[in-house]
Symmetry: C2
């Protein structure tokens, strides 16, 4: 079937060489007068004068700038509160994130909290409906989460040990400046974490309970195939513009729902993986590469045809003379082999994670509905997820 | 390479069963008070009370409606002038197109002309820069041109015998209501014309002079493959929701540049075909099916690798044991066979078009640049286009 949907991806993508030099010009058009520049103090900010250059450019266009750095991976609610206070005190009307997913998610949460009287955490844990937010812009330096054009923000409440998300088109960034050259200096591990995240964003939409294969599936397959081809190449040639551009653009379309409309999605791998981040501060991409293979092995028998098709389309697993389950299993093996080729862990052991907090992590997962479960292609309850964790040891 | 680009597809897509009953609710949110309903008096408007139902719904939401019907295929400039006058006289602030590409293109031209003092035709023939327009909304009843989320309007100036386009993100519709059920009653020939148009919109972007194959190419291949699979099925089962939904969604993504960013595009087939519409009022889709094969046969030797890949990916032409040119030729043959399977003409003769106005049509084509040519994958001058017309006789 083709389920009803509503989508409006109203992000203005400005993509190419040197586009980070057009921030002032573009923001001036919107009439914005004061901007909070939000970042993580990463070394890239000081390379080629990136941060100072953008500040100067904004000032030259008559826009006053304030600055809040210090975003950590799995961005902290405490810094979000700090940002909200600063924005309110200074009357700031636009949040500009310079960075990757953590910085963008933190910026979205600040933008949301600044114009709402309640505690911003209510939008996360209590699912309070989002109606208004300040506009957010992005200078993307780390393609991974797709947050630059997604409707989602994930924030880590360290006090409560909760990593939760808010989702609303209202918080989708209004403009994103994407210069692939800014990503040349990204370390290999971070690049690979980003690729796994994109790969997973597509898979969470591709592994749907729907039976039919249609245009959305075929577009998703095209993106996955490109990631399989380009992933190892970009690690070999980190300053290749074409490879960096492909990866950067894929990061956005992997998560802005271009290949997610009209279907039930899954998100099991993300929900299960996120608890590793909350518990051990494990990088998001690594949690996904650790969990995805185990998740696949646990669920593929419920939808073997789709997994066999995945094996064939993405990894050229021949279907002739193989039964569907065999082909499906080979596709899972290829997925893990692909992650390993990117230097990514595919088990707790690979990343030296302890295995003695499983029940604590299970306590944190938001099992929902009458069947107290998560996931789309297969609904997974607490016992199922426990097995998936164990299969990933 | 991956060329610099800027894209913002800010159309709000509302897709699914009965979404045409939500027009009043959605427009009310925007604060709109007066709407011009623009249409072509087609029989579908009076089926199940569609037109009156939407009017009543708008009125019930406190929105005053005016009506202008009479749009013809290859929409006429004369009606656009009439619409502009009506909009100005009544102080209308939103144009709602109920229909397909012709109605939407006409609505865009009215919206553009209504807020600009100059003759609206200046935006078409003189390429005057577009800066402002009234907002346009669409209730889509005929998926084909993709105009419901494209930045383009094509209008026919009958007096001058010119069919020209204006392109600007400013005229992209702001909201589109897409209910596949409204297309069940579309005649087979119109359905097939729409499918050819979508197929061509992808090909004009896929047949790029760029050498590399990347994510955009693979997504385009996924869409083309779906069209090849679904096209004959939807003609067989015109009331199949899934097939109609696939076709409807493909129509939009085929032309809103989802698979056009970062590359030089071609548009030769469209430019050559459009003169058949201007000269003989031939349906747009038929002009494309008549010209595309001839265009391919004329240019494929300049980019045989891409045409061979197309043959393999879209039509499963085996590449083993075949040289590239042979495979490419077979892909062209498959394309024409596919069009024929949809009941579409692939030559002037198939559609009983006269062949004695070729020089008049060549006179109208806007050959550009130092080399006085059109097209992207291969630049085509007047002599080249003459040969393409002749190859299509």
């Amino acid at each position: 079937m083709f389920r009803d949907f509503n989508i409006c991806i109203d992000t203005n993508f400005i993509f190419g060489r040197n586009v980070h030099q057009r921030v002032g010009e573009e923001l001036k058009k919107t009439g914005i007068k004061t901007v909070l520049i939000h970042h993580d103090n990463g070394p890239f900010l000081y390379k080629d004068n990136l941060l100072e250059g953008i500040k100067e450019d904004l000032n030259n266009h008559g826009i006053q700038t304030f600055e809040l750095g210090g975003v950590l991976p799995n961005p902290r609610l405490s810094l979000v509160y700090e940002g909200i206070e600063l924005v309110r005190k200074k009357g700031i009307s636009f949040i500009l994130a310079i960075g990757g997913g953590s910085v963008i998610d933190s910026a979205k949460a600040i933008a949301l909290g600044a114009v709402n009287d309640c505690d911003v955490w209510e939008f996360f844990y209590a699912g309070k409906a989002v109606e208004s937010s300040l506009p957010v812009g992005v200078v993307l330096t780390y393609p991974a989460t797709g947050s630059e054009s997604s409707a989602v923000s994930v924030v880590n409440n360290v006090e409560k040990g909760e990593k939760l998300l808010v989702s609303s088109p209202v918080i989708r960034p209004k403009v994103v400046f994407m210069n692939p050259e800014l990503t040349y200096s990204l370390p290999g591990f971070l690049t690979a974490c980003g690729i796994v995240d994109m790969f997973s964003h597509i898979c969470e939409r591709y592994f749907t309970p729907e039976d039919e294969i249609g245009v959305i599936d075929r577009m998703a397959e095209g993106i996955l195939k490109t990631l399989v081809e380009i992933g190892p190449k970009v690690l070999e040639e980190p300053s290749n513009y074409l490879y960096r551009a492909e990866i950067m653009w894929i990061g956005s379309i992997a998560h802005n729902n271009t290949v997610g409309v009209g279907r039930v999605q899954d998100w099991g791998t993300h929900e299960i993986g996120n608890e590793l981040s909350a518990m051990y501060d494990t990088p998001h991409g690594a949690t996904l590469s650790i969990i995805m293979g185990a998740w696949m092995k646990y669920v593929y028998e419920k939808k073997p045809g789709r997994f066999a098709r995945y094996a064939h389309e993405i990894f050229d697993v021949p279907l002739d003379g193989k039964n569907t389950l065999e082909a499906a299993k080979e596709g899972i093996y290829c997925t893990e082999t692909y992650f390993k080729s990117l230097g990514m862990p595919v088990s707790f052991g690979d990343f030296k994670l302890p295995t003695d907090h499983i029940e604590d992590m299970l306590d944190k997962i938001a099992f929902r509905g009458e069947d107290k479960s998560i996931g789309g292609i297969v609904r997974l309850n607490r016992a199922d997820v426990r097995k998936i964790y164990e299969m990933a040891f």
